[in-house]
């Protein structure tokens, strides 16, 4: 009798497309894929993106990093973070006390707000709570402040927690976004950064997804400035001719949540430079 009931439930779930969420199993499979695909890359080196898999580009990048083009943005970010005085006399330091300054605390799922909170969202939450206007999310001052905080988080371990029904739902939404084809070119994130990672796309090499989140914000030569992870998401969407979403949209936050969880255990090494 029990077997029949169990079989009926199983069959119903199978037919209705219910997926049992198991973030830990997802993460293991995700990492193992890249470990097998790039066996010569030390695990911790995946934080370096394409520079982990291409020696010549790595050498160029290391030289660039000696006088990094994001240096000015970092200095400006430091001034913005430490010297901005809000309308009510408070400053960023009042919001980001002690450990909260670190990127390792982000993104996290806020149960009360039922949403993922990223570092950039927290920066603007801080501003708004002290009577200031929010900053634009993809570039400019928010990327500079984020870069300053990222610098002080270098070497810390990505350790995103996904627990509780609502958090798992956000994770699943991010996972769905990652694996879904979209845009006129009918591409999913997975198409370029998993199956085709390491392959050429015109003059560039597609980077592996593992570790992608560790080095943001980045200075991209294509942009000529520093930008946030969500700016990069927008660029990817646009390149496959899908309509880009606003920075800190639920979709992008959930995607960041999913990708960060996939990179758990790796170190932060932002800000960085990318082509």
């Amino acid at each position: 009798m029990c077997l029949r009931i169990f079989s009926t439930i199983f069959l119903y779930c199978l037919l209705s497309g219910v997926v049992w969420a198991d973030p830990a199993a997802d993460q293991t499979a995700f990492k193992n894929y890249f470990y097998k695909k790039f066996p010569e890359v030390p695990v911790g080196d995946f934080i370096n993106g394409v520079y982990a898999i291409d020696q010549k580009r790595r050498e160029q990048w290391l030289e660039i990093e000696e006088f990094p083009p994001y240096g000015i943005a970092l200095d400006e970010g430091e001034i913005l973070f430490n010297e901005t005085v809000f309308l009510d006399g408070a400053s960023y330091s009042d919001c980001f006390v002690d450990g909260k300054r670190s990127k390792k605390n982000y993104p996290y799922f806020d149960v009360k707000r039922n949403t993922v909170v990223t570092l950039e969202l927290a920066i603007n939450d801080c501003r708004v709570s002290h009577g200031e206007q929010p900053l634009k999310y993809k570039k400019g001052d928010i990327a500079k402040i984020s870069a300053y905080l990222a610098l002080h988080s270098r070497g810390e371990i990505i350790d995103v927690e996904v627990s509780g029904e609502a958090a798992i739902n956000a994770y699943e939404q991010g996972k769905k976004y990652y694996y879904s084809k979209r845009g006129q070119l009918n591409f999913a994130c997975v198409d370029c950064h998993v199956a085709s990672s390491g392959m050429r796309i015109r003059a560039e090499i597609l980077s592996p997804s593992l570790g992608h989140v560790s080095n943001f914000p980045v200075y991209r030569f294509k942009w000529g400035s520093i930008g946030t992870l969500h700016r990069r998401f927008s660029g990817c969407n646009s390149q496959v001719r899908a309509k880009p979403l606003p920075g800190q949209s639920e979709e992008y936050k959930n995607l960041e949540y999913f990708l960060s969880y996939m990179s758990n255990g790796l170190k932060f090494n932002g800000p960085s430079t990318r082509r």
């Binding site: 694996y179 084809k181 979209r182 998993v194 309509k243």
Partner: protein, 87 residues
């Protein structure tokens, strides 16, 4: 007679344009809107207003086809993404 034809053509264009716009909005709500559809439809409207009807209809066809394809993509991906999950 000429006036009636012009009105009929205008009505036909408006109806088709609105249909394309509705489909685009439906694709957007599902999170699958394509990058250029809105621009194509806007340009179609502008060309029509400027009297370039052949160009306007060509753009409208493109916009309609893109909206339709985006919606089909959304329907396909509702479950199609699961096949790509790394296991």
């Amino acid at each position: 007679m000429t006036l009636l034809s012009a009105e009929a053509t205008q009505l036909n264009f408006d109806t088709r344009w609105q249909k394309a716009e509705d489909l685009r909005m439906r694709a957007a709500l599902k999170g699958y809107e394509w990058r250029d559809t809105e621009k194509i439809l806007r340009r179609s409207r502008e060309e029509y207003t400027a009297g370039n009807k052949a160009r306007a209809l060509s753009l409208l066809s493109q916009g309609l086809a893109q909206s339709d394809a985006a919606l089909a993509q959304a329907a396909r991906e509702e479950n199609g993404w699961k096949r790509r999950v790394i296991k």
